[in-house]
C-alpha cells in the first residue's frame, strides 16, 4: 500500500527534526535532564533552556516572556484562562462571553462555570463563520468579567478579528482571552500590540511536541490556580517543568514563520481549493478572505461523508473536527454557519502543513475526484435532499 497522504495538520503535525533535536538534548544522562527547579548546576542549566524557550515563544507572539506560563497544552490553558479568571472574581454577578464555535475545551469550561453560577453568553457567528465585534460589544454588561474567543477556528479556519475585539474589551474594562492554538506561528499574532489579556498557545499544531502549551497572562491579570503545587509558574501552575517539551515548543516557535510559511501554505491551499472546485458540487466553508493558510473545509454534495472518508482511507483527513473525530454527531461549528446535518456530514477538513508538497496536493485532488465520481454514481438518482 502506498504511504498515507497526510492532510490532517489541523489535528496535529509531525514534529520538525530540528525540534526533535532540541528535545532529545534534554533527555538522557548526557543531556540537560535535570529538574529546572533544582538549585545545582545541572538544574540551573535546564532552567536556562526553559527560559530560552520562554523567550522564543514570547518573541513569536510579541509578549514579555516572563508573562508566559507553561501548561500541558492549549486545552489546559483554555481551562485555566476561563476558570482562573472567573473564579478569581468573588463578585456576586459574574458574566462570561464566548461563542458557539469555540473548541470544546472552552465550551466545556464555560459549561462548568455555568454550573458554578456564572452567567454565560454564547455569541453566534455569521454564515461565513465570523463573529462580529459589534455582537461582542452588545453582549458586554457591568457583570462581564471575560470574553473568550478563538483567533483561528480549527474546523473552518476563519480568522476572527481579535484586534478589534480587544479594543472593545479594553474600552469596557473587560478581560479578553484568545485561543490561539490554530493561529500562533501560522499568522501574525501581536499580543502586546493588540492588548490581549490572556492567550492560549500549543506546540503540536506547528510541528512541536504534543502535551505542551502555554498561557500568556498580561501583568496584573489575576487567575485562580487550576493545578496547585510547589513553585508554581507565575504563582498559578504547579508541577515539574518538562524541559524537553518546553525546549521543543521553544524551537517550534522559533522555526514557525507566518510570513514565509503562511504564504507557501496559502498557495497550496488555493491550489487545492481551485482543483476541488473544478470537480463540481463542492462548496468551501468559512470566509475565504479571512481564513488561515493551513485549513480548507469543503462540503461535497451528493455523497455521504462517511463513505467519502472511508473511500479515501489512504489519505489522513477529518470529517468535522478531528478532536471530535470518533464522535459521529455533526460539528457544532458547521451547524453554526448554517449547514444541514446532511451537508455537515458530507464535509471534510483538509489540513496543510510544513511537509505538504505540491505533488501531495495533486495526488489528493486526483484521489478525491475519483472517489467522488464513484460514490455519486453509486447514489444514482438519489433525491435532492441528499445533495442539500
Amino acid at each position: 500500500m502506498t504511504p498515507i497522504l497526510y492532510f490532517d495538520n489541523a489535528a496535529t503535525t509531525p514534529v520538525d527534526p530540528r525540534v526533535v533535536e532540541a528535545m532529545t538534548a534534554c533527555l538522557t544522562a548526557a543531556g540537560e535532564f535535570a529538574n529546572p527547579a533544582s538549585g545545582h548546576a545541572p538544574g540551573a542549566r535546564a532552567k536556562r533552556l526553559v527560559e530560552e524557550a520562554r523567550a522564543a515563544i514570547g518573541a513569536r507572539v510579541n509578549a514579555p516572556p516572563e508573562r508566559i506560563l507553561f501548561t500541558s497544552g492549549a486545552t489546559e490553558a483554555n481551562n485555566l484562562a476561563l476558570k482562573g479568571a472567573l473564579r478569581a472574581r468573588t463578585a456576586e454577578r459574574r458574566h462570561l462571553i464566548t461563542t458557539r464555535i469555540e473548541h470544546k475545551s472552552v465550551t466545556e469550561s464555560a459549561r462548568a462555570l455555568a454550573g458554578e453560577g456564572v452567567e454565560v453568553t454564547y455569541l453566534d457567528c455569521d454564515a461565513q463563520g465570523i463573529v462580529s465585534p459589534d455582537s461582542v460589544r452588545a453582549a458586554i454588561t457591568d457583570a462581564t468579567v471575560l470574553v473568550s474567543i478563538m483567533h483561528v477556528n480549527n474546523e473552518i479556519g476563519v480568522i476572527e478579528d481579535v484586534a478589534e475585539i480587544a479594543r472593545i474589551c479594553r474600552s469596557r474594562g473587560v478581560l479578553l482571552h484568545v485561543d490561539a492554538a490554530q493561529s500562533a506561528g501560522k499568522i501574525p499574532l501581536d499580543l502586546a500590540g493588540w492588548g490581549i489579556d490572556l492567550c492560549s498557545l500549543t506546540a503540536h499544531k506547528i510541528n512541536g511536541p504534543k502535551g505542551i502549551g502555554a498561557l500568556y497572562v498580561r501583568r496584573d491579570v489575576a487567575l485562580a490556580p487550576l493545578i496547585h503545587g510547589g513553585e508554581p509558574e507565575l504563582g498559578v501552575r504547579g508541577g515539574t517543568l518538562p524541559t524537553h517539551q518546553i525546549a521543543g515548543m521553544g524551537k517550534a516557535y522559533e522555526l514557525a514563520d507566518p510570513a514565509l510559511e503562511g504564504a507557501r501554505l496559502a498557495e497550496l491551499r488555493d491550489l487545492l481549493w481551485c482543483s476541488l472546485a473544478a470537480l463540481g458540487g463542492v462548496t468551501r466553508n468559512g470566509c475565504p478572505e479571512r481564513s488561515a493558510p493551513h485549513i480548507l473545509n469543503v462540503t461535497f454534495r451528493g455523497v455521504d461523508g462517511t463513505s467519502l472518508l472511508c473511500a479515501l482511507d489512504d489519505i489522513a483527513i477529518s470529517q468535522g473536527s478531528a478532536c471530535a473525530s470518533s464522535t459521529p454527531e455533526p460539528s457544532h461549528v458547521l451547524r453554526s454557519i448554517g449547514l444541514s446535518d446532511a451537508l455537515a456530514q458530507s464535509t471534510l477538513r483538509f489540513g496543510l502543513g510544513r511537509f505538504t508538497e505540491r505533488a501531495d496536493v495533486e495526488r489528493l485532488v486526483e484521489r478525491v475526484g475519483m472517489e467522488l465520481k464513484r460514490l455519486r454514481t453509486l447514489a444514482g438518482s438519489a433525491p435532492v435532499w441528499c445533495s442539500s
Partner: protein, 133 residues
C-alpha cells in the same frame, strides 16, 4: 471508524450497484429513505419468473449501508421472490459487523425490499411466477 473486511470489500466493489441497462419486463423497483439517518436506497429487482434473476441498487449512505445493500442483493439472486420479505437484517448486521446504532439504516434497506415485493404482487408477476413454476 473501523470497518470489517466484509464491509470494505463490498463497499469498494459493489458488483450489483447501478441500474439495469434496459427496461425489462418482470422488473420492479422499490425505495426507502431516512433523512435523519442520512440514507436513501432503491432496489431494482428482475424477477420475470419464479426466481429473482438479478438485483441492482442505487444508494446514498455510509459504507455499512452500501455493503449491506450489496450483501442482500447477492443473497437475493437465484432465490424465490418471497425472499424479498425474508431477509434477516440481524443476521446480516452480525455477519458484516454492523454496529447496532446503525441497524436503523439496514431496516430502511429492508423497507426498500418490501416495497419491491409489494410492487411484484401488485403487477401480478409473483402470481405468474407461481403458475409458471
Amino acid at each position: 471508524m473501523d470497518y470489517s473486511s466484509q464491509v470494505l470489500r463490498r463497499f469498494r466493489s459493489p458488483l450489483r450497484a447501478g441500474v439495469f441497462a434496459a427496461e425489462m419486463p418482470g422488473t420492479v423497483r422499490g425505495e426507502a429513505e431516512d433523512r435523519s439517518l442520512n440514507i436513501w436506497v432503491r432496489f431494482h429487482v428482475h424477477a420475470p419468473g419464479s426466481r429473482i434473476e438479478a438485483v441492482r441498487f442505487e444508494i446514498f449512505g455510509c459504507p455499512h449501508a452500501v455493503a449491506a445493500a450489496e450483501w442482500v442483493a447477492e443473497w437475493l439472486e437465484g432465490r424465490e421472490p418471497s425472499a424479498l420479505t425474508a431477509w434477516d437484517v440481524h443476521a446480516a448486521a452480525h455477519a458484516l459487523g454492523v454496529p447496532t446504532e446503525k441497524l436503523g439504516k439496514l431496516l430502511r434497506i429492508e423497507d426498500a425490499l418490501l416495497a419491491c415485493w409489494q410492487e411484484l404482487e401488485r403487477n401480478g408477476s409473483v402470481v405468474d411466477a407461481e403458475r409458471g413454476g
